[in-house]
C-alpha cells in the first residue's frame, strides 16, 4: 500500500487517491488544424513507462485537488510530489 503526500493535506493512504495516468500531456492549442493521426496520438497513445514516471494524481476522497508525482513503476518509490504547473523535477538516474 502506498503512502501519498498530498501537497495540500500531507501524507494519506493510497485509498484516498485516484491516479490520472501519465503526466505532462498538454492539450493541443491548434486543435482545429489537427488531423486524425495527431488526435489519435494525443487521446490514446501512451508511453506506459517501466521505471521512473511523471504522473498525475488526484486526492479524490480528500481535498479533491490534482497534483503531479514522480514514481517508479517497478519499485513504487515516490521521489517527488509537485503542483500542477510546476517544472518537472530532477530525477535520479
Amino acid at each position: 500500500m502506498l503512502l501519498l503526500d498530498c501537497p495540500w493535506c500531507g501524507p494519506r493512504s493510497e485509498e484516498e487517491f485516484s491516479c490520472g495516468g501519465e503526466g505532462h500531456i498538454v492539450r493541443p492549442t491548434a486543435s482545429a488544424e489537427m488531423d486524425d493521426q495527431a488526435w489519435g496520438d494525443y487521446v490514446f497513445m501512451r508511453t506506459n513507462t517501466k521505471g521512473m514516471q511523471l504522473e498525475r494524481w488526484r486526492h479524490a476522497n480528500g481535498c479533491g485537488r490534482w497534483f503531479n508525482m514522480a514514481r517508479s513503476t517497478t519499485t513504487h518509490e515516490i521521489v517527488a510530489v509537485y503542483k500542477v504547473g510546476d517544472d518537472k523535477p530532477e530525477l535520479p538516474k
Binding site: 491516479c19 501519465e22 486524425d36 488526435w39 490514446f44 506506459n48 513503476t73 517497478t74 513504487h76
Partner: protein, 416 residues
Amino acid sequence: MANYSILALARNALQRHRNWPQAWGSPVLRPSYDAVIIGGGGHGLATAYYLAKLHGMRNIAVLEKGWIGGGNTGRNTTIVRSNYLNPESAGIYEHALKLWEGLSQELNFNVMFSQRGVINLAHDPGEERELRRRIYANQLAGVDAEWVGPTQLSELCPILNLDPNIRYPVVGGTLQRRAGVARHDAVAWGYARGADHLGVHIIQNCEVTGFDIREGRIEGVRTSQGDIKTPKVGVVASGHSSVLAAMADIRLPLESHPLQALVSEPVKPIMPTVIMSNKVHAYMSQSDKGELVIGAGIDGYISYAQRGSLPVIEETIRAIVELFPITSRLKMMRQWAGIVDICPDASPIISGTPVKGLYFNCGWGTGGFKATPGSGHVFAHTLAKDAPHPLNAPFALERFYSGALVAEHGAAAVAH
C-alpha cells in the same frame, strides 16, 4: 513425440514412469529464423503452433525471457466464455471457444476444459436491462446466452446468497452454458509440446532487448542470448508490450496494471459453476483441487511490480463474503498478481505497425486467456500472409485514429 494415451499410461506405469520423453526440448538459438515470436505465454505459443501447423513455417522460434507460461497465462483465473457485446468481439471470442471445444484432442494434451457454465449477476433493474441487451446481442451473433432468475440461480449454485435484504441483492443473471474454465498451465504446455514437435524452437530465459530496423523494415532481434536475423516478428508480451514497442520507437494505447487473484484452502466441491458480478466486482469458481479461485480488480495506477496492493483484494473479499456467506471463515492460501495490458476500449490489438514485418498481439488486458486458441490462430494467419484474418481486421491499431473502437467495458468490466 510420444502420443499420450491410455496405453502409453499403462506402459509407462509398468516402467514406474521413469521413461516418459521430454514434452519439449531446449534447443540452441539459431542465428536466423523465418519468423520470431516474442513472448512464450499461451498466445505466443499458440501463434507458433498454428504458424507451423497451418502455414508450414517451421524455421521459427518463440523467445521467452523467463519460463513459458510464467506470465499472465499461468496467473489467470481461467474463465473461458464468448458472451461479449459487439459482433467483432463475438467473432473472435466465439472462434476461440469453438477451438477450445476440441483443443485437448487437437493437442493430444488434456487442457481440462470444463464447460460448467458462467453466470454474470445483475443486482438492480438497470443492470438487468443491460445484461438482457447483451443476451439478445449474443443470440443474434450465434453465441449461446440465456437469462436465469433467482429460482434457477439457487439450483445452479446453492451457496449463492439470494436474500433480498443484502446490500446488493441479486435479481438474476445471464448464463452461458458452453462457457467454463480450463487448466492454464496445460494450455501453455500443450501448445509448446505441439509446436516443438513441428520443429519450432522454444527458447526460454531469452530476453529481447532491441530490434534491428532498416529503412522501415524489421531485419533482426537482439536478445540476451545473442542477435538473430529475421524478416518477421510477432510481439505477444502482454504487460510488457509497451516496453517492446518503445524499442521500435512505437507508442501503443496501453497502460500496464497489476491484476490480482487469490485462492482459498481446498474444500469439498461446493461451487458447481462460475459466478461473476460486475457491480460488486468479484468472481469465483472452484478448481479441481478444491481451492476457491477468486478474482479481484486492477490496481488503479501503472505498475510493473507483480504484487498488487491490499485494498484491492480487501474489497473483493468483502463482496465474496456477502455473495457466498459460506466462505466467511475460509483461509486464503495464496495471493498473486499479473501485469495486464489495459486498452482504452477493453478490446485487443492484433495489428501490423509502421515498421514492416513487425506485428503486435496485445491489449487483452484482464481477459485474454479465453481467447488463447483463437488469438494464436488468427495472429498466425496475419504473420504468414502479411494481412489480417477477417476476424482480427477490426482490431488493428488504425481504430484509434479512425474512431472505430470496439467498446467492451460492459462485457469485460469485471476483470478476468
